[in-house]
Amino acid sequence: MSYKSYLAIPVSLGVAIVVWFVLSLGWPDATPSTQIDRDLAKAIKQFNLQPLEVRRFEADPKYKLGQALFFDPVLSGPRDVSCSTCHLLQYGTSDGLSQSIGVHGVGLSPERRLIKPVRQHPRHALNLWNRDNNAVRALFWDGRIEILNSERRIFGSPLGKDLPPGLENILAVQALFPLVTTEEMLGEVDDRSATDLPKEHAGLLNELVTNDPSMSETSRMEAPLRLLMTRLLGAGSMIEWQERYRVLFHNAYRSKNIFTVADLANAIAHFEEMAFATRDSAWDRYLSGRSSMLSDDEKRGALIFYGKGRCAVCHSGPLFSDFKYHSIGVFGVRAYSADMPEDFGRWNATHEEEDRYKFRTPPLRNVTKTSPYFHDGSEPSLRAAIIRHFDPLEKATKYNPDGSFAINIRQINAVSPVLVPSIRLSEKETGSLLSFLSALDYQPTNVEDIVPKSVPSGLPIGQP
């Protein structure tokens, strides 16, 4: 037996020991890929998560009508803004502004600015993704539009029982309100359309506003809607662009001869349902069983989202919102209205003391595209918005320059107990959370089916 033969035994043994060691312990990684998948599978089961179900895209006549109405500035008092002014596809159907600018503005968002010293819309424009989903129970930051009885189609709204009959869903109810809100689309009684518009629209007085102080609040909302239908379809004689609208209405509602504002709202809602649906996000594909659709970092982010980040407590369900009201310690510095120095959120809709400073949980699909964040658009980046959730009572021990408390006791008491005690995430974990949120993104591939080249009125549609 040679010397080398003697060495072969211990060397082989050494190699065997190293192999056994590696096999039994594994590489020193706290969460190898398969383990993340196993954990995520448990989280998915725990939260009963399913891929989002979305209706198949179909550009039917009702869609065509809704598309025209959504993009046509003729729906606004001074004929200068449309729904799409504040809901742009490029900005995830929001507008990139902290607070939206409707009428009395120039330029395209996010460079849009006011040109008249009027009150600006007090809140950030919410996005429109998947609002036809059954999970949606309330709309607007304060939930002033809500479903009271889905089977009987009873909706709560500022119009109360005076809501026009025939509205098909909550999205249709919502579509009415920007039309009758002064700083969004309605404008003021002395507004005139621009003189450089096509001649049938140029220099016209805003006939949608009735300046009658004896009118009730609901009449003040109903009258512009009635007048808008007259503007769109003409009264007796019709001009060419009104004829185009009449054809679109006829095609969309074949059994009808008389069209109401509910038909208009239902068509806009139908367009929004079809156009603004997230149909194929990486997260949904992962939930469908394709585990390679998410990177390890995105999966780690998902585990944080559903685990130690406590995000899924409120950002729950298929749209990542519980459609309930919480305060996360964001108290806007801007006045909500002339008689309300702060934005009281849900309180505006209910006048219940316990609702003060609470806002509806915003859904998170396509959230990476809808900056800035929060109801007042006070946080420009998503990372900063996430971090702001971690310590909502940060200002509770701080003072303003004048010596007063930075936040008051009512505000402190309003903060959701879910976020107290605060959440501790490392830089890396916050990064993973951001990666996961980007896995909720979806960009429609059929942009040409969504954004029209022109609208029936012939007005410029003002899209980038």
Binding site: M1, Y6, I9, P10, L13, G14, I17, F21, S24, L25, G26, P28, D29, A30, T31, Q35, D39, K42, A43, Q46, F47, L303, Y306, G307, K308, G309, R310, C311, A312, V313, C314, S316, D322, K324, D391, L393, A396, T397, I409, I412, N413, V415, S416, P417, V418, V420, P421, S422, R424
Partner: protein, 124 residues
């Protein structure tokens, strides 16, 4: 005869070598390689337990919110399973129980308590 002696020396060397490798070197190497990972899972588990102590009974009047909160803490508690799994692996390669325990205590003593509940304090 010298051949038999040689074999005997090799066998004794092997036995001693294996003893040293299994009982001394491997545990030290295993602990060194996995120290950071183990500390992390211990910290995560400790935080999860603390969160469960705070939220386990629910903190809001809303049933749904409480339910989701408990779900999220249960997901967080998965880190305790990882701790157990890694602990068992370390024990199986010869790392001693007391050295693991001392590492755990070191981490727990460093883990800060959950921040003081300011809201309740102010209400109180």
């Amino acid at each position: 005869m010298p051949k038999l002696l040689n074999i005997l020396i090799v066998v004794i060397t092997l036995i001693l070598g294996v003893e040293v490798i299994f009982n001394r070197i491997i545990p030290i190497v295993a602990l060194a390689i996995n120290k950071q990972a183990y500390e992390q899972v211990v910290m995560n588990c400790e935080e999860a337990r603390e969160t469960w102590r705070v939220f386990g009974q629910g903190v809001t009047a809303d049933k749904q919110t409480n339910g989701e909160l408990q779900n999220s803490v249960k997901v967080q508690l998965l880190s305790c399973l990882h701790q157990e799994a890694l602990k068992n692996k370390l024990l199986s390669v010869g790392v001693s129980g007391p050295s693991i325990r001392s590492m755990e205590l070191e981490v727990i003593s460093k883990t800060p308590d959950l921040p003081y509940d300011l809201e309740r304090a102010l209400k109180g």
